[in-house]
Symmetry: C2
Subunit: 204 residues, 2 copies
């Protein structure tokens, strides 16, 4: 064991992140308890707060890692030169696949509640924002006259719409939703965007 | 006070529903505790389970009332004879308005977690399912050759997509989202559906 203080802090930080990821993967966000984390990381409960200001900061760190994993999946989903409809359909289906296979980690990203009026830290929103570039690329091809600002807003809208279809589907909030029904909904939805968005964003 | 047993049970049921609605409206679903409910309704904790099998059943009852209120709002939003684009835009904006003004009650509808593998009761899914008729009506006009089954599936998809835009927006999960940005996203989204769905559901 190293006696170098920065190295020990870095190791404790890594151990706490690993313990939090394992707790979330097993029991979801509600399974995250300071005492159990400290035990898993082999430290005192108070030592957690030497490396994270509070549990929310630890949760944001874990959730950012989940989003970075999603980012890698989306990046490997679409080759350059793919037509916009195929690209958007593959991205939506990859999001569905990721949400399904990383179910508890992915749920934690959206279930994490911070106090009313608080906002996520900027570095975290930066990780979120980088995801949208995957959707902005096919939008640039689909909407050649659009501004970057328009595409950024649309990317967020399409991500949110896709998320709604995937999350209400996986959680079966509206009734039974087999995987092929969710996938079919995403195929129709992305096709309707490709056909409809050029006219929808055009000045009237 | 009546000594008629069925009437007393009915009154206790109403009182518990009112207490649960008040608790959710004030503090959200996490504020719902059996002890506090019993106190508010003036009964013993055990008496709750004479009228509801468990707290989940009480929560489903409260959430169904929220959905029925949403149903009334949506029903008053669109007059017969409204064109499909206007109808779908108004429905989406009305959903946003309702979610905003009934924030905690509306959040409880989607935050209510039941045990893995359990499904909501059929009567509750019936209340959910009735909401979709508001979207099915403009879809019938937009897609005259479509089957009722296609329209039912699409209504669920469009509801889910709208919900994703509204919920990630209101919760600011992707960064700041002022109301006019959410509303603008819904306007573009519904317009893209109206322009794109006829081609998206056509056989290829």
């Amino acid at each position: 064991m190293t006696t170098d203080l920065p190295a020990r802090r870095a190791k404790l930080r890594d151990d706490l992140i690993a313990a939090a990821e394992a707790a979330i993967a097993t029991g979801g966000l509600s399974a995250l308890k300071a005492r159990a984390l400290a035990e898993a990381a082999g430290c005192a409960v108070g030592a957690i707060y030497n490396v994270f200001p509070d549990l929310d900061a630890l949760i944001f760190t874990v959730n950012a890692r989940t989003l970075e994993r999603l980012d890698e999946v989306l990046a490997s989903t679409v080759r350059p030169g793919t037509d916009p409809e195929t690209a958007m359909r593959r991205l939506a289906l990859a999001y569905h696949g990721f949400s399904r296979s990383e179910r508890r980690r992915w749920t934690a990203v959206f279930a994490h509640q911070i106090p009313d009026g608080a906002t996520p830290p900027d570095w975290y929103l930066g990780v979120v924002g980088r995801l949208f570039r995957h959707i902005e690329a096919p939008l640039a091809e689909l909407l050649p006259g659009s501004t970057a600002e328009t595409r950024a807003g649309l990317a967020r809208t399409l991500f949110s719409a896709t998320h709604g279809i995937v999350s209400l589907g996986l959680e079966e909030k509206l009734g039974p939703a087999p995987d092929e029904v969710i996938a079919g909904a995403l195929v129709v939805m992305t096709r309707s965007w490709v056909l409809g968005l050029p006219g929808a964003v055009a000045p009237r």
